[in-house]
């Protein structure tokens, strides 16, 4: 057995029908018991590299491969599927798409059956794997009844049963709430300690970086950087050369000239040592404490005289007449111009509430006043692909206005307006489902904005999306709002507290079947019990914001605020 978990030499890979290789001259090696983060922009070749590492290229994905990948010293090209599976395992983005059995036990057994493990040995190995991911006693549970986090842990257990030396994870956190993501990363950390090499590609850098030993940076298919997490300067230079943003925390630390720490606690300690914490506390004493976050105010900011768009009184909803309530006693109002975030754990009924507000479901009890005009409540669903059904982007954007009975001239005006706002003008004649992931999200949002809604409901805009794309969409919406005569109300569900801080001026916390709180982002971030109930965790940037008592929410404004207070 080789002392290396994997060795990649001069790897080139070109997909069929393409002239340019997706991967070019990739060289690196992976030692056991290490954690490697693969970073890069969308389309940089991260997923292709991970598939090559797991041996699926060239066995499952066709294309032209040059160079070689060695797992335990053996070339993946000559290893059978079973031998590959014993060496490297792959976790994908959506657990739902990876689970093939109906019970937890059968799901874990599947891999062992494929490897030809004798039936009498499978039972103990299933129990052992489930124990490693804290799913003991789940054997007979239906896979349909598991939460998102439990499903991803089940996928991990199914892979661990094969006892691979290398675990490759392709954006495994994208569907998980912060608590479930932290638990998943904790399990990976234990596996690393037990000697497994972990390779992970993930957009949520703030959450993954504290665990990483090393970062590989891909840019246009090339390895643009390969740095240890401790080589701060090399790491920053590599990120910069790949036009990639290092995590917000790293940018904050760099701007203040503080060395980047593996965890946020150490960084806060370093900031304290350099006097930033005390200086900010002094500065905080001299300014008026304000709950309202100092985000850029727009024409649509809320005010007491704004018309109410929604009024919910003691709403309750259940799917089955004799089933349990998804939630009950939900009462709130939403005024024009308000930006409200809806937070809560996976399965707390956030999507159900948005669907109900959109008019797709009726409450089981309680009263709801909502805009009744067709198209007045625009809903962007969690999977924007399911909102795109026309042949071209132009038809997609025109669909809503046409259904509203608008004249062709007015329809064309709205199409060109929203296309411009969401940077889709050049793509108007393209098929919407042929666009990139971020472009599809923008097309879905534009199709909803073309209805000229009074309220925009947005279901988990960050799930499975590149943060850059989400930021772009949210900025486009903000920009679009400025030019509206009638302020638009917005209610979006999210697990991402940075989104809450940046884009919301109010937060509804839905958990345990009730609306636990109707509060401000600042109050939520400061309330440990509320965060725990909503299975939310303060992202490192929010921890920094809290420690330094800052008012700003985004990293650029936070840096400015500190530099202003501590010149």
């Amino acid at each position: 057995m080789s002392s290396l978990a994997a060795l990649v030499e001069q790897l080139d890979f070109t997909y069929p029908g393409r002239d340019d290789p997706t991967l070019r001259e990739i060289n690196f090696e992976l030692a056991p018991a290490t954690w490697t983060l693969v970073a890069g922009r969308t389309g940089s070749g991260k997923s292709t590299l991970l598939r090559a590492l797991a041996g699926l290229i060239p066995h499952q994905t066709s294309g032209r491969m040059q160079g070689r990948v060695l797992l335990d010293g053996e070339d993946t090209r000559y290893l059978s599927t079973a031998k590959l599976a014993r060496r490297a395992a792959l976790v994908l983005q959506s657990p739902d798409d990876q689970i093939c059995a109906t019970t937890v036990e059968a799901e874990v057994a599947f891999a062992l059956e494929n490897l030809g493990v004798p039936s009498r040995e499978i039972g103990p190995r299933i129990r052992d794997s489930l124990h490693q991911v804290e799913l003991d006693g789940f054997e007979s549970r239906s896979t349909h009844d598991l939460s998102g986090g439990e499903k991803q842990r089940l996928v991990l257990a199914a892979l661990l049963a094969m006892r691979p030396r290398l675990l490759v994870c392709d954006e495994p956190l994208s569907q998980l709430d912060p608590q479930a993501a932290a638990e998943f990363l904790g399990h990976l950390a234990q596996l690393r300690s037990a000697g497994m090499a972990i390779v992970i590609a993930e957009h949520r850098l703030d959450e993954v970086l504290p665990y990483a030993d090393r970062v590989l940076i891909l840019s246009a298919g090339r390895l643009a950087g390969d740095a240890s997490i401790d080589e701060e300067e090399t790491l920053r230079a590599a990120f910069q050369s790949a036009k990639l943003e290092l995590s917000d925390v790293a940018r904050f630390a760099a701007a203040l000239g503080v060395p980047l720490a593996r965890d946020c606690g150490t960084l806060i300690q370093r900031l304290a040592e350099r006097g930033y914490v005390r200086a900010m506390a002094r500065a905080g004493d001299t300014t008026t404490e304000s709950e309202a976050p100092p985000r850029v105010e727009t024409a649509s900011s809320t005010g007491p005289d704004r018309p109410k768009l929604f009024r919910a009184e003691n709403l309750a909803f259940r799917y089955q007449p004799r089933g349990a309530d998804v939630w009950s006693d939900v009462s709130f109002e939403l005024a024009a111009g308000e930006r409200v975030a809806l937070v809560g754990p996976n399965g707390s009924g956030k999507s159900t509430l948005l669907w109900l507000l959109a008019g797709l479901l009726a409450p089981t009890s309680g009263r709801l006043w909502r805009p009744e005009l067709a198209g007045a409540c625009g809903l962007v669903m969690q999977n924007p692909d399911l909102m795109l059904f026309c042949r071209t982007v132009r038809q997609e954007l025109a669909f809503g206005p046409q259904q509203q009975g608008l004249s062709p001239a007015e329809t064309a005006r709205r199409v060109s307006q929203v296309a411009e706002q969401l940077d889709l003008t050049a793509l108007l004649n393209d098929p919407p489902l042929g666009l990139s992931q971020g472009q599809r999200l923008r097309a879905a949002v534009a199709a909803v904005l073309a209805l000229d809604p009074e309220v925009l409901l947005f279901d988990e805009p960050t799930t499975g999306q590149d943060p850059d794309q989400v930021r772009r969409v949210m900025q486009a919406i903000e920009h679009a709002l400025i030019h509206r005569e009638q302020p638009l109300g917005m209610l979006f569900s999210t697990h991402d507290l940075r989104m809450v801080g940046r884009y919301a001026n109010r937060v509804l916390v839905l958990a345990d079947g009730h609306l636990l709180a109707d509060t401000t982002p600042t109050a939520l971030m400061n309330d440990d019990r509320l965060l725990e109930a909503a299975r939310l965790r303060r992202p490192p940037l929010v921890q920094l914001r809290r420690a330094l008592q800052l008012q700003a929410w985004n990293v650029e404004e936070m840096i400015l605020e500190v530099q202003r207070a501590c010149p």
Binding site: L56, A82, A85, C100, T103, N114, S119, G375, F389, Q403
Partner: protein, 304 residues
């Protein structure tokens, strides 16, 4: 009941009865037994008996009320549709009108015939619906009482090529998701004003528009399905699934004594009934007559 409800309900039927405990190979053999016999037999009594067997099997699922509602709805709709269509449009002779739905109309020189409901048509419709329902219920019983992984094991043991077996099982696994996604796209369409007037009230689209819109659903559903299938294929390949390699099964499939006996009964009855009916067809077609088989001809005429 909406499509979405069916989709949510289907994987949650969770039958807990004795049928779930049976060896999946036995269930597949029984499904084949039901499918062939429902084509071979033609008498109302025999078809009713097959239907009865299927109903007993459904009872073995110990469904929740919601499951019964789903299956009851399916039974009613199928029986109603077949009875009505055959009763109204039965063209063979003799036929006895039971009642007239629309009397004949004289239109100039042309006389449009009356639309009548025929007894023989209704009986024929009843037979057809018994045929369809017996097989449908048997298929549902097998699918609902057997996890995809057990079905895969059984199909593989019955020498069905692993690729075909795995495709069938993956289709079963994804069926609820396809239904959910189709319902979601319909909702997205509705939210953008389709099927509503400008005040948000329901409005019926013209049949051509409705047809076009239904076809438009195919693209996003198919693409989404392809993406999911690709992920699943990647996932199972990463877990060592290789159709060309021998695999083990957990728990191992082992036929118990009672199941072996049942298998013998199924095989014997199947062979006996198919042979008897074949002999009878040969006799009817005047190809071969065997005096010793007169009792069998009589049995086939009365009961098969």
């Amino acid at each position: 009941m909406s499509l979405n409800n069916v989709a949510i309900e289907l994987p949650r039927v969770q039958p807990a009865g004795w049928l779930r405990k049976l060896d999946p190979r036995l269930k597949l053999v029984w499904l084949m037994w039901m499918s062939t016999l429902s084509v071979v037999v033609d008498s109302t009594a025999a078809l009713a008996a097959l239907f009865g067997v299927a109903v007993v099997a459904v009872l073995g699922l110990r469904l929740r009320p919601r499951g019964w509602l789903l299956i009851g709805g399916l039974l009613l709709l199928t029986a109603w549709g077949t009875l009505l269509s055959q009763g109204l449009f039965y063209a063979r002779q003799p036929r006895t009108p039971l009642f007239t739905l629309i009397p004949s109309v004289q239109w100039g020189e042309v006389e449009l015939p009356a639309l009548q409901f025929y007894r023989e048509g209704a009986l024929y419709g009843l037979k057809q619906s018994l045929r369809i329902l017996a097989v449908t219920l048997a298929g549902l019983c097998v699918c609902l009482s057997t996890g995809p992984e057990r079905l895969l094991a059984a199909l593989t043991r019955l020498k069905v090529p692993v690729v075909v077996a795995y495709m069938s099982v993956a289709a079963l696994r994804f069926l609820p998701l396809i239904l959910v996604e189709t319902a979601t796209i319909r909702r997205a369409r509705r939210l953008r004003g389709y099927g509503q007037d400008r005040w948000g009230r329901r409005r019926r689209a013209g049949w051509w528009t409705a047809l076009k819109m239904e076809f438009a659903l195919l693209l996003p559903v198919t693409l989404s399905l392809m993406r999911r299938s690709e992920s699943l294929a990647t996932s199972v390949a990463s877990r060592g699934f290789d159709p060309s390699q021998k695999r083990t099964f957990y728990p191992e499939l082992r036929l118990r004594a009672g199941e072996c006996l049942l298998l013998i009964v199924l095989a014997t009855t199947w062979a006996g009934l198919v042979a008897t009916k074949s002999l009878y067809w040969i006799y009817l077609a005047e190809i071969y007559y065997a005096p010793w088989a007169r009792g069998l001809y009589d049995f086939a005429r009365r009961w098969l």
